[in-house]
Subunit: 158 residues, 2 copies
């Protein structure tokens, strides 16, 4: 399988990874959520080479996760902003943060960084819950199922 | 910055990506959550080459996400199982699934696959909520903050 095929796959995880299954891409997005918008700023914060950064930004614009907007006319300069599709990646970044913080830190090591929910003001640990019943999702209670309702044969039988 | 350095970074996202910031790794984990455990099964389901699969599995064992256990003695055969650290990645996979399903699907396209919460039985959309107040996290209400309490100078001042 080539990576370009992943976007055509029926599995939503594979489709997501066709856009964000890359370390630099996710680090660029981390910075974008921190309101970094300009090429030079991404570059200096991440220490990524200019060609790699340019290529990842181009792909993110192409896939509709970032939009490229002029912020200055003379000379013409652009900045990169998260689209709605990009903002929807917040939960992916939060989940990575939470896992990195809880599982990739030595027991005696400080947190360094925390997540804060500005609505309630708490430094907190995010939880993924079911959108129907509100209970936390665990591997034991999460199932990926084929959406049988979308199969014509099945629809006819119903 | 080299990728090996990412695990040493203070940012939890970067640390997480030092282990899971790779497409094949995340697809292997997707299969592991579907209870795939054997090399041959990962290989045939993913269509990944044997050397790439072997290398990714080795790294996942090394980082404590999977454990390699014998399931047969003559000849000796091993299988790969998610550890507790690995199971904690459930929320990352769920978030990728939800984003792929909501953002990477054409409006007229069927779902193909859905997430089901077995506790309540519903096909549902997962939500990332604050562990303190239970409200959904949005980019506007999520803040990454330096954990000042861990800075000795600050601690003395308090």
């Amino acid at each position: 399988m080539r990576w370009n095929d992943l976007g055509e796959e029926n599995c939503p995880v594979a489709r997501a990874l066709s856009v964000v299954g890359d370390r630099w891409t996710l680090l660029i997005l981390r910075e974008a959520f921190r309101r970094v918008r300009r090429f030079e700023d991404f570059q200096s914060r991440l220490g990524v080479t200019r060609p790699v950064l340019a290529e990842r930004l181009r792909k993110l614009v192409e896939s509709g996760v970032l939009e490229k907007l002029p912020y200055q006319q003379r000379p013409l300069r652009h900045e990169y902003r998260l689209t709605e599709k990009g903002k929807a990646l917040n939960s992916v970044l939060i989940s990575l943060f939470a896992w990195g913080d809880s599982q990739m830190r030595a027991p005696d090591e400080p947190h360094y960084m925390r997540l804060r929910h500005t609505t309630c003001g708490h430094v907190m640990t995010p939880v993924v819950v079911c959108g129907e019943c509100g209970e936390p999702m665990t591997p034991q209670t999460t199932e990926m199922v084929a959406d049988l309702a979308d199969e014509p044969a099945r629809r006819e039988a119903v």
